[in-house]
Amino acid sequence: MESLTFRHTTQKPLPGSVPNAITGVVASGNLEILLERVLPPDACEVAIETPIAGYGPVWEAVVADFVARAQPGGLRISINDGGARPDTVSLRLLQGARLMEA
């Protein structure tokens, strides 16, 4: 298993007040994402556990694009990956952010 952690500073906190949410399932080609509103409002941390090593730069790019787009300030995001493709990861991250904004 490979562990990756990315920390970002955001311009604003993610709107809404949902304390936590989970989306997705750990299955082949899929992943689960746990989002918790536990960090300072301008911070976001994404921690990934993946069985597929060597994709660090891809994860980094996917997470950076997500942070730029969703501005998920205040969130600690934890990912259990089952070998999901980057497009699936992006989709789940956006789904998760949407759940937190509700």
Binding site: M1, I22, V25, A27
Partner: protein
Amino acid sequence: MAGAHAASTDPDALSWYEATARQRVVALADPGSFQEFLPPTERRMSPHLPLFDLPRAFDDGIVVGRAALDGKPVLVAAQEGRFMGGAFGEIHGAKLVGLLRAALTLKPAAVLILFDTGGVRLQEANAGETAIAETMRAIVDVRAAGIPVIGLIGGRAGCYGGGGLIAGTCSRLAVSEGGRISVSGPEVIETNKGAEEFDSRDRALVWRTMGGKHRRLIGGADAFCTDSVSAFREAALDLIGRAPAFDLATLEAEQARLESRIARFGDCRDATEIWARLGVNDSEAVPAMDTRAFDETVSRVREADHDAR
């Protein structure tokens, strides 16, 4: 999100087969009533899977908690069939056993188990096997305390291995057409007995032999649902209301029925022969029947309603 979440909260539109364990529980219970025990934020994950370089799930593939069903308090467990095939590992099993033991104190109107499992998780087999035994023991205690335990089966992993054994100890079972109940899975049978005996790729054969319609016709399940969360909810409410007593007379009657079943059908080569002997006129037509036609067929078969599986 309109699409995703409108679908996931409307129990009429939500397919049981397609839904995740979490979606099933939330949509099955009265709106807003589900409270999870040991939620994902607690991160009670498998201590074993990392040794095999396998990913873990925050809830170890089972969602447990309390909820209300038509205003009545219930305890609920739901297996996630897509994580490790819904298999029983140490934490997964302990959460189910703990929930059942809590029932003895909390005295809910029922315990609902939403099965979706291939059996025991190979990577933590000893713990998984122990969990199966402990779960059956706990179900016996809960039923003896007068609390019905209702199994709901309609997920993609079916209800196999130890899950099939546990289902056998429940008070009542509801199953959908896509649901399967058995102990050995199709591939296991083929591996041990050969494709001539059981061709696991012949999916029509698999469902004829282990699927929801067959189990309902021979009385292995007590209710047959369309594949929606609302249908399972209705079935659960109905079955809670007519759970059998858990006493010696019930057990002896079950034993007698199982003996007569093997005597009556033991020489059948295919489920269609069993259905014909049960009095189904056009047994070949059963797999293609819609729910209404099938319900009518079931209503004419006497064996469909009894307590033996």
